[in-house]
Symmetry: C2
Subunit: 147 residues, 2 copies
DNA sequence: AATAATTGGTATACTTATAAACAGTTCAGA
DNA sequence: TCTGAACTGTTTATAAGTATACCAATTATT
């Protein structure tokens, strides 16, 4: 039973490790919440974005979600196959598609969204209003630094 | 130019969105820092863990990194092929391997680690000591809630 | 008008991740 | 002893994700 060597990490590295592990756990938790609806986190993100900005094209959607258009292409393929999203042609520009939720896409999103919100609420319920505020401020500050 | 519909999110959901975007940017940034060394973030994580806990088996390593053993299997395959890690047999238990860095694995890690630390330092340099402390506390609190 | 540069979507190859099934090994207990 | 449960690593199928190269369509430049 030799003790593991404990490195002393610098505060920034320690924060980064914590953040990575927390993120991993949050994602795992949310996958569970979405599973009953047959959605992955990435698919939900697409539905969510298209619910608020219908008609986006694939490149713009990729920019919103911070992923590549190649990734979006496959995601939309699967969502279209599942009948949740449709590609509509643009009469002005034949390179592009406008993405829209189908009726069942809207319905599924409206069921899944509250379930996910509730799961997220539970994840953060240990924080009081002040702490939540502080966290938001710090995250925003870091976010700004990397843009 | 129709304005995008702005949903009003609850604080917990807003925090979660911020956190997801921040994580995405941090990862992207770190991939860039590791690229000169021919390492991905996942591969670096393996090297880092094996540097502090040599002799781990694949299941234990998977537990440490919060991933599955199936994932580790492929990761180690590639790292072994690159000559950075080796699998050593256990004379007592023929099911298991002990994982060790090779000499070049150690060397590469010792080059890449400071570069990554520096990148992480830059990511957090906008926070002063107090803020860093607060962030750590909040992350730890959330982390605990999900364990 | 002709050509060049940019843009949008797709295809391919690779890495990472999960879950589930599988094969061999170890070990506890009847 | 032998049988069954548990464990270790591998494989497979599926889903994301990147980077790169490509084609077709649009826009800018000369």
């Amino acid at each position: 039973m030799k003790p593991a060597i404990q490195r002393r990490y610098r505060p920034s590295v320690l924060s980064r490790l914590h953040l990575a592990r927390l993120h991993s756990r949050l994602v795992h938790d949310e996958q569970n919440a979405l599973q009953p609806y047959g959605l992955t986190a990435a698919q939900f993100d697409v539905l969510s974005r298209l619910a608020t900005e219908p008609g986006l094209n694939q490149q713009m959607l990729a920019d919103r979600l911070l992923v590549t258009k190649g990734n979006i292409c496959g995601l939309i393929d699967r969502l279209e196959l599942a009948g949740l999203v449709e590609r509509r042609n643009d009469p002005q520009d034949r390179r592009t598609y406008h993405l829209h939720l189908t009726l069942s896409g809207v319905k599924l999103f409206e069921q899944a969204a509250p379930a996910l919100e509730e799961a997220i609420g539970r994840q953060f319920e240990l924080l009081n209003d002040d702490e939540m505020d502080t966290l938001l401020t710090l995250l925003a500050k870091l976010d700004r630094a990397l843009r």
